[in-house]
């Protein structure tokens, strides 16, 4: 249930930004999470919706984009995107890899009305 803590932190940021921008209503929240974070989208939506009850974000739509896992091979320098969890360079077979995408918890933007 790391979804709960991440949603709590997200709501703090969303409401703070909305306040500083004088928004009266938040209509959409755009976020990107890496696949490695292992968020269950339905659980995340549920905890987010529970957390924004009674706030100006109560009717906000959550757009959650899951970013695929990408790594750079330290040996041959090639970049690979992986579907499964095989952390092996598909070009040279090395397992000396640097993760370059897949563990993000990013809030991209919010949309709302003044």
């Amino acid at each position: 249930m790391h979804e709960l803590k991440i949603a709590e932190e997200l709501i703090i940021i969303v409401l703070k930004v909305a306040e500083s921008e004088n928004l009266k209503k938040i209509t959409k929240v755009n976020i990107q999470f890496g696949k490695m974070i292992q968020i269950v989208p339905d659980i995340f939506r549920f905890v987010f919706e529970s957390g924004v009850k009674g706030t100006i974000a109560k009717n906000a739509r959550l757009k959650l984009e899951i970013l695929p896992i990408k790594f750079a091979c330290k040996k041959c320098k090639a970049e690979t995107e992986i579907e499964d969890l095989l952390f092996v360079c598909s070009f040279c077979g090395s397992n000396d890899l640097e993760l370059i995408q897949g563990r993000e918890t990013i809030i991209e933007s919010i949309e709302g009305e003044k």
Partner: protein
């Protein structure tokens, strides 16, 4: 209207973790974040490690527990500083909870602090505590599919212990499948097959952590 933010949602935790990391560095203390499922043997590993190393190094323990102080009670006999953090249902520790309890220790007088995280393979992997590194512990009684199911932890751990190796023959744990998955997720990680209770291969772990502490 759209307002661009482009910020890490976990920035608050990350910033506090970086503060903790700086404080540890200033005081030259190694901070180890021990993560496993419930029942894998975290407290037993700490028990054995304290027994072996408490006369060589100055060690302290942070016990993260959902409820009760039973783990701390088990380690009390070693007479090292122990602080309990009860998460009251929370499934992981975060950097703010660690930062709050650090003033209870005399950091100048410590070599290493082991944090026993809450038993869970998912949530603790996502919250940086300001640790020097993560130690992942897994046991043969849990099944052999853990590395592929929980890649974040096994990818990020600096060292991995497979505990309860003495029970291997009584379980359906497929060792070669486990090693294959581990190699796929993190083929470069130091890995030891041990039994804390039957004292099998524990010297390998003690040597490894000894070297980490002296080279901190």
């Amino acid at each position: 209207m759209e307002i661009k933010i482009m910020k890490n949602v976990l920035d608050r935790n990350k910033n506090k973790a970086n503060e903790v990391r700086s404080l540890m560095k200033e005081n030259n203390v190694l901070l180890v974040n021990l993560i496993s499922s419930p029942g894998a043997g975290k407290t037993t590993l700490l028990d054995c490690t304290l027994e072996k190393l408490k006369n060589t190094f100055k060690i302290a323990i942070i016990e993260g527990d959902i409820a009760t102080d039973r783990d701390a009670q088990r380690l009390k006999k070693h007479k090292v500083p122990i602080v309990v953090i009860n998460t009251e249902g929370g499934c992981h520790l975060d950097s703010h909870s660690i930062s709050k309890v650090l003033p209870k220790f005399n950091l100048e007088n410590l070599d290493v602090i082991f944090i026993e995280n809450v038993g869970n393979l998912v949530c603790p992997s996502h919250f940086d505590l300001g640790e020097s590194f993560k130690l992942a512990l897994v046991s043969t009684t849990e099944g052999d599919d853990k590395p592929i199911k929980y890649p974040m932890l096994f990818r990020e751990a600096k060292v991995i212990l497979l505990n309860k190796i003495d029970l291997l023959e009584y379980t359906n744990f497929n060792r070669s499948s486990f090693l294959k998955d581990l190699n796929n997720v993190n083929g470069k990680v130091p890995f030891f097959e041990v039994s804390c209770t039957a004292n099998i291969n524990m010297e390998q772990w003690y040597d490894w952590i000894f070297n980490e502490i002296i080279s901190k």
